[in-house]
């Protein structure tokens, strides 16, 4: 399948630090991919590069022209003094292709006379989504779309988004810190850490290829069926290993368990430590996060 978005060795410096480094990612047509990772992993930077707000410092990026990308930026920037109808008129007059019918449909029953500043977070997000999908884009980029929404509003947002995506056939990239938010809708997951893609694949594939091994503490030798030990953890006389497999593990001295997606991603984010709960930061992500 041809890729809508294709980044190859992409790098972007932010001041002295590399916000994104050696990032390689393919987004095939009509696929839905979740890009996750800790704060300042480069998720927003990747989306900013894709939409052309940022210029890459190294690597190559092939993306559709801006007219074919629907982008919902972090914190959902909208003109606060406009009303909903005026926001639609704004998108209509700044886009060559505009599907008012679809935008209205995605907006739902919201009155067009409501001021943007008076909208609830969920309604704001929905309006931004309607603006982005009204372009009938080939690629939809959502940057932390659920950050300001409660669980119900978030669920509703994803529902509407997937409806719209089904109608437009757009490929979707969702950047989020909280993978459980988007697990249900994403076909593929890419884990971004320190600006590079550490793990990428479909959810089933990722889960199928990783196992949690528990057994008595011992010096680590080769284990048949294990390609790589991602993380090892000692507690007392017990040893727990997270491993990437390349075949069935038959060694009876290990008890083999499946691992959940969130724990798997956490393990990759912080390989030296336990998969403890990720600290939730209450403050807003910086734009270059």
């Amino acid at each position: 399948m041809t890729a809508v978005l294709h980044a190859e060795g992409l790098g972007k410096r932010h001041h002295r630090r590399w916000a994104l480094r050696d990032c390689t990612l393919r987004v095939p047509e009509q696929s839905i991919i979740g890009v996750t990772g800790p704060n300042s992993a480069g998720k927003s930077t990747l989306l900013g590069l894709a939409v052309g707000l940022l210029e890459p410092d190294e690597g190559t990026l092939s993306a559709p022209p801006i007219a074919d990308i629907g982008y919902v930026a972090q914190d959902v920037p909208l003109y606060r003094s406009f009303d909903v109808g005026e926001m639609l008129a704004f998108a209509r007059s700044t886009n060559l292709r505009w599907d008012q019918q679809l935008a209205l449909e995605l907006l739902g029953s919201r009155s067009l006379e409501t001021k943007v500043s008076a909208l609830m977070p969920g309604e704001r997000a929905r309006l931004a989504l309607a603006l982005a999908l009204g372009k009938r884009p080939a690629l939809l980029l959502l940057d932390e779309p659920l950050a300001s929404l409660d669980r119900l509003a978030g669920r509703e947002f994803l529902q509407v988004a997937m409806d719209g995506v089904a109608q437009t056939g757009a490929a979707v990239v969702i950047a989020t810190r909280v993978v459980t938010d988007i697990e249900r809708v994403c076909e593929r997951i890419a884990l971004l850490c320190d600006g590079a893609v550490k793990l990428e694949g479909s959810v089933e594939e990722l889960l199928a290829r990783h196992r949690l091994l528990t057994g008595a503490r011992r010096p680590l030798g080769r284990i048949h069926g294990v390609e790589e030990v991602v993380r090892a953890n000692h507690s007392g006389r017990q040893l727990t290993l997270l491993v990437r497999t390349n075949g069935p593990i038959v060694d009876p001295t290990w008890s083999v368990d499946e691992i959940g997606l969130e724990d798997l991603l956490l393990a990759y984010m912080a390989p030296a430590e336990l998969p403890t709960a990720q600290p939730q930061r209450p403050w807003r992500l910086r734009w270059h996060g």
Binding site: L54, A73, D75, P77, L78, R80, A89, F90
Partner: protein, 314 residues
């Protein structure tokens, strides 16, 4: 884009129009007594080339009666500068509110987005500036008949330069907006730059657009140059050295004591008065040159803003 530009800037454009209406009303009201006096005293028959006895007195009386009003009219020079209040927020506000991420990710290129907005706002402001300029020309008519329109008091508020200053203020505001990304900072810096440029051009360049003329006159200043822009008026001795006003005063006092006519006395010393001036006939040439300068500066600012908008990472 026309709708978007109008929606985002309608408050500013309506304010600009309100400023024009206010200026027009104030001009009509304040001009009535001036015109009345001008016609009552039949001043037009007093001005060069025509002249009748007692004219100097009449003209001087007219000038002193309305001197303070003419001074108030000088404030019109500030109006073109207000265009930077439209220009500075154009980009700075988008940065402040983060909405550039919305505006620049629609279907239009950033360059097209900026140029469409600038063209539309520029056209609207040029129209308002031209209207204010016309009002100013009408309002200054009686003064211009007496004093000419070459000196800055009239030159700065009449003719093509008014729209040119306005376009310059707008574009320098836009440039400051993308450089500083904060409305307040952009307005402050753009205002400083505008004032500095205007003063610099007026004081340093304008006197030399064309080589000034010199005229040697014996005795005290002649009134024949009332309509010209007199740049320098100096007394020199027979070998061309400048005479300080203190020495001139001394000489005049000396002549008065001796009971001789001061002018004749100065002439007898071989002292001559040299006037350096730009003649009133050069008005449109100078307007053309000054307009070109400001339009060129505006173009530079617009090009710089477009380059920054396209290149500068957001």
């Amino acid at each position: 884009m026309a709708w978007v530009t109008w929606r985002q800037h309608r408050a500013q454009l309506l304010t600009a129009f309100a400023v024009f209406v206010t200026v027009a009303i104030a001009a009509v009201v304040s001009s009535l007594p001036v015109r009345d006096a001008y016609h009552r005293q039949a001043l037009s028959s007093c001005l060069p080339p025509a002249a009748r006895p007692g004219c100097d007195l009449l003209v001087n009386h007219f000038r002193s009666e309305f001197a303070s009003l003419a001074q108030v009219g000088r404030w019109l020079i500030l109006l073109p500068g207000l265009a930077l209040l439209v220009g500075a927020p154009l980009l700075a506000r988008e940065f402040e509110h983060g909405t550039f991420r919305l505006a620049w990710t629609q279907g239009l290129s950033r360059r097209r987005w900026l140029l469409s907005k600038l063209a539309l706002l520029g056209a609207a402001l040029v129209l308002v500036a031209a209207l204010i300029g016309v009002v100013a020309v009408w309002w200054r008519q009686p003064f211009d008949h007496v004093e000419g329109r070459m000196s800055p008091a009239a030159f700065d508020v009449e003719g093509f330069v008014v729209p040119a200053y306005t376009v310059f203020a707008l574009s320098i505001g836009v440039l400051a907006g993308i450089v500083f990304r904060r409305t307040l900072a952009a307005i402050s810096v753009a205002a400083a730059a505008f004032v500095a440029t205007r003063l610099g051009v007026e004081k340093l360049l304008r006197p030399h657009y064309l080589a000034p003329l010199h005229r040697i006159a014996t005795g005290t200043a002649p009134s024949a140059h009332a309509r010209d822009w007199v740049l320098d008026d100096k007394l020199v001795d027979s070998v061309g050295r400048r005479i300080t006003s203190a020495r001139e005063d001394l000489a005049v006092v000396h002549a008065q004591h001796a009971g001789i006519d001061a002018q004749q006395y100065l002439a007898s010393l071989g002292w001559r008065r040299i006037l350096t001036f730009q003649p009133a006939s050069r008005f449109w040439t100078f307007q053309g040159i000054e307009t070109s300068i400001f339009l060129a500066l505006a173009l530079v600012a617009v090009v710089a803003a477009v380059v920054l908008v396209r290149r500068r990472p957001a």
